[in-house]
Symmetry: D2
Subunit: 412 residues, 4 copies
Amino acid sequence: MSASETVEVTGHLMDSGILSAILDDIREYDGDYIIDRFDVGHEAADTSRAQITVTAEDDEALQRLLMRLQTRGVNQVHPGEATFTEADMDGVFPDGFYSTTNLETKVRIEGRWYDVENPEMDCGLVVEAQGDGYRVYTLPMSDVRTGMLVICSASGVRVSIPVADKSSASFGFMESDVSSEKPQAVLVRQVAEGMREARAAGKKVLWVGGPGVVHTGAAPAMVALVKAGFVDVLFAGNALATHDIESSLYGTSLGIDLTMGQGVEHGHEHHIRALNTIRKAGSIKDAVDQGVLTGGIMHALVTEGKKFVLVGSVRDDGPLPDVHTDVIEGQRAMRAELQDVGFCLMVATMLHSVATGNILPASIPLVCVDINPATVTKLADRGSSHARGIVTDVGLFLEQLALELVPDYRRA
Amino acid sequence: MSASETVEVTGHLMDSGILSAILDDIREYDGDYIIDRFDVGHEAADTSRAQITVTAEDDEALQRLLMRLQTRGVNQVHPGEATFTEADMDGVFPDGFYSTTNLETKVRIEGRWYDVENPEMDCGLVVEAQGDGYRVYTLPMSDVRTGMLVICSASGVRVSIPVADKSSASFGFMESDVSSEKPQAVLVRQVAEGMREARAAGKKVLWVGGPGVVHTGAAPAMVALVKAGFVDVLFAGNALATHDIESSLYGTSLGIDLTMGQGVEHGHEHHIRALNTIRKAGSIKDAVDQGVLTGGIMHALVTEGKKFVLVGSVRDDGPLPDVHTDVIEGQRAMRAELQDVGFCLMVATMLHSVATGNILPASIPLVCVDINPATVTKLADRGSSHARGIVTDVGLFLEQLALELVPDYRRA
Amino acid sequence: MSASETVEVTGHLMDSGILSAILDDIREYDGDYIIDRFDVGHEAADTSRAQITVTAEDDEALQRLLMRLQTRGVNQVHPGEATFTEADMDGVFPDGFYSTTNLETKVRIEGRWYDVENPEMDCGLVVEAQGDGYRVYTLPMSDVRTGMLVICSASGVRVSIPVADKSSASFGFMESDVSSEKPQAVLVRQVAEGMREARAAGKKVLWVGGPGVVHTGAAPAMVALVKAGFVDVLFAGNALATHDIESSLYGTSLGIDLTMGQGVEHGHEHHIRALNTIRKAGSIKDAVDQGVLTGGIMHALVTEGKKFVLVGSVRDDGPLPDVHTDVIEGQRAMRAELQDVGFCLMVATMLHSVATGNILPASIPLVCVDINPATVTKLADRGSSHARGIVTDVGLFLEQLALELVPDYRRA
Amino acid sequence: MSASETVEVTGHLMDSGILSAILDDIREYDGDYIIDRFDVGHEAADTSRAQITVTAEDDEALQRLLMRLQTRGVNQVHPGEATFTEADMDGVFPDGFYSTTNLETKVRIEGRWYDVENPEMDCGLVVEAQGDGYRVYTLPMSDVRTGMLVICSASGVRVSIPVADKSSASFGFMESDVSSEKPQAVLVRQVAEGMREARAAGKKVLWVGGPGVVHTGAAPAMVALVKAGFVDVLFAGNALATHDIESSLYGTSLGIDLTMGQGVEHGHEHHIRALNTIRKAGSIKDAVDQGVLTGGIMHALVTEGKKFVLVGSVRDDGPLPDVHTDVIEGQRAMRAELQDVGFCLMVATMLHSVATGNILPASIPLVCVDINPATVTKLADRGSSHARGIVTDVGLFLEQLALELVPDYRRA
């Protein structure tokens, strides 16, 4: 027997394409709909409000469709109460668990709404008694333990989608928008402004970087930005750190002569020796303290007291002693640094950008810079719909960004 | 004071560009050279032989240059004896350790030549007494333990480069060669022939795959190839296996309706539920045994008794219980399956292709298929110089490969 | 003083994103709007209808905005009468001329609606007396002559947007949709079905091709498709024809050995001689008649009596005697072949695909196949919004297409 | 009966890979060879000299192989005398015509060597009596007329290949080398230095540009470079000029708001009106003189008295009145501006870059900048082997180039 529910959504529904996406979702889930009411904004600045009755084959299908629609900011008109089930295995959610979005979320328990801690997508929601009420927080599948209370079905869950502000002068459009044919100097200024605003608001600037930062010769620019306080945390892999360190120790990076700009094909041997040198020192910080490592991005992060989280991958040599070789441990270490992040810049890495996009709340401004359009597209496809993609040269972009943000930055 | 050594190299030096690469290497390492003798092959089929005296700033620089030249198949005329040093820390090689190539390698100890076990690049060479002689084997940096004897300097080490056979009818040119403008049907036949030859020689066929195999609709072709015995081992990540399983459980893969070919944008929620289902079952094999998983690539591998090694990455959801979350453990699991591999096909994954290229001996034929030229180029740049790249559509390529290799394969 | 007009649009406004695009347009043209009425389709199959009053700075700005909105299928509620002005220079439209869309268009003159002949975008509309009424036809800027009557402003012009049929089984979604992660075998079948339908309806199949058709080894597949009647007209440049002919005369194409699949780097000299040979013969047909040219795509087109239009570009060698060296003449020759085209397949060429997209009515199904996503994206960006892009390997795609459409097609 | 000839080549044969390429050529042409002598450079700075006897099936095959080898700088030891044949048709070379390289070439007639005027590849060589001797010049196929004397076979023709200077500080390596992983700031400086050197030597700087120059917001930088004297000639198509003019007239370019950096999807209507406006004025210069066009790149070229050659393509709207619609006429107009060019920069256009590469002598330094690696690769594949490719963002590259070359250049 079919099941149905009435839902509502508010916002710039038409000009942001949300309503179109909602109806696509319903079709994809083999559901049906009737639009009960549609209060359209009459003038350009008004918001619209739609009320839709959705129908699915059975209650299980309906619940899954309702969860799906929440990724669009759609809520039930009569939200009801959250229902929860005890996990009966470590690392496994109960059937029908609520699969989270990365939006701000509230859960109603015993008639009272609770804010969900740490919004993150593709997690479960765990409920714990706290004082005379409850706390509700996101938990990834691998961390659930027997006996935890996990919310099931979409009942009692509300989300709010951040309002895209198309007319904002400083950091205009945040919708996913991938193009290499954009006036690039303007984009540099918008990113600079986004970082200044985050800092002015007392928030942290998170960088996610790949080895291309070093290969394109952008390390000096990034070092200047670290010293000027525009890099609070760096998420990266073994490669960025190793190439940066190799470059400091040997003046090369995977065989590119940085002072001459002339290509050096392989030279992997430098790479291996750089790894061995840091392993011998004990850690990157130990290498700095011992005077072994005296320059580069990692050196700047250590001396400026900034954080970095390096997570390994199956292609790693070494790795550096600071690298989390267990990727699930690495994800936990990344999550631990997200507190108070107010702006996120991703440069030249698909792997770590997607990984960060997976755990970042939708409310944090996010810019992804890569010369490869596929990286930015992939990021957008994974649900980080507020990512803004800039297809450009990472080396020249960071050079310009340093010129914009660091008053005394001079090209060598 | 400068140090010098006389080296030699034999082969089709000019037409394979090796000599040019050697002289580039010497310049890159700030060395100098005199070509003492150059016996050129006078006719097309003849090999050439060059003897060169190389000079570097000091002995340390010279040893590093000599190791570098060994990646080109260059050996010392007077190889001398291997020298070795005891490792005095876990996970750290002694200074001046010999950094390996992926070529067949021999080491001379007490006047006798020993074959190196498991050629792999960017490793150290460890010596152990065995019977009245020694065994020598490659060991990655992270696995070295205090007290092990590690070969230092290039002294006493010989390599042999596999001869590229340009005129072979079946699997013609193996040099790195990336192009999307090649007659593609011919390339499919050459890959098919390479697999048949490996199987005829009693060797295993290794596949390395990314989720694009599922997204492009190639899963049925790959299932047919598994059943026909052309897939002995699969190296992949959490994504290929999850999307394949999601596709079997829900008929979708990251939101693509496979029977209609119509795009479904996200649908990540299916993905998360598929992971939870397999975690609940215990493992992929358990899910097959319990009748939970009844189709797809992973199902075919289980029911045909084939091997797979899944190694995680920082972007993983879940992951599946079969996934190695520690990447260094994952590398060890991959190495354990390389025995008797006679052909390797890499499809639609940069991460796992590079990881496999890192541990594979140069003597194994290797073909990398991807729609993205950067993947193949990257693979070639990492030292897998015998990789052959084919820039093409993975879905249509595997469809054609199944038509070529599986007599009764029919498109549905 | 500001000017305003009330417009209306009907269709699946929300789920096709049209309304969102309309409101974006108004903002881009610095206009303002009030949504007077919005009758939403309540159930999935219903169409919606919106009535909007748009305001612009002055009448000139308003007219330009109204023309812009017509590309979205938006018409004035009170269309009024067309106004026209005499052109007073050859090759120049009067100020304020109506700039056409590629949609079906009607023009009202003296209270009567006339169908516009040959819908084509970025043209003017010319009115001529005919019988007791008028004819109205599109004309490109370069063809306008002094004294012609050209429609100015949006008054009296109506367009109808073709309805996208998302649920059609045969050729499902026609919206612009670029992806290399689609089940490719399904897409091949949909293209085959589109061609069969066009032929069944007595329509012509138009191909637009680049030299990649030859380079990827797809010439035999295309020859088979020509002979089986699935290629009625070919639009191409000098390169496709020359490489095809070079391949027939010398067995090479820009230096690729087609039987071995082994790359041949340059060999441009063959290319130049092939051009000289055909120029000596007089034309491609002459070369076929004289027995000089005995195989390949161009040979098949000649012997099967099919049409081709070759238009030159600044990078051409030669060119072949059949090539239109004047690009405006070439465009005219292409337009002359559009009559009764019912399906258009574009393969491996950005230049000629965009050129064809410029002159093709929106009502003709259009599929663009290229390994380069930029080609397909570019096509969509130029206004051919009904183009469907398939990012795949042209060689394997045409191989599969021949297997699908030509019963006795066998790979050699 | 087979035919053979002894040839020689001098240079850095091994480290530049020339010898390898020569032997590949011989194999590709089904020839055979014996290396008679090979005087290898013993030290790094020495040049090598090889003498090779090549054999082919018959004299015709031999002659074609000899012509092919000349593209590598290989000459006959006994060059003999040039032989020539009268053309007996307009636009057609005699059989066996010598197909030119883009290298410096000399021809021996009656025992005397003559320099070939205007080296250009894929042309014929025409001989005319002049004074008591001769002049010899390149002529494209389409320009040959009945009665002209055209050199046939490789006899009597010598070429000299420019020496690549790998160690030069200013503009180091000129070999084809495509990569996006290069220190980009260094590359900008090298291009700036190349332009300064050309100007210091009294040579012209040729630019070849596509519309991406405007789309990426680089027009202000290019205007500054025009005014500072670093742009003497521009080769482009209708698109660059139209988008530049549209941007000046309407502040948009294919729908991108340049001051906000926010994307505007289509807006082709501006584009068409801009074309009409300039056609009405008569020409770009007329529009400047009439005060219609007051800014942008084309305006700067006109007011600074610089040259531009615009050549049309089949995808053009309009076109602008200055555009050569006949592509062969357009090629002639481009050739007429090559005199005294000392440096060539190609930005953001595949079509015009390849066209220019076709007619440019090999001796002119050539840099191709594009975000799309395929453009640069294509250029290199077409024989412009001295092209240096830089895969980067055109907007940021030109911004940096202006900062480097124009003392008072400030970002707005």
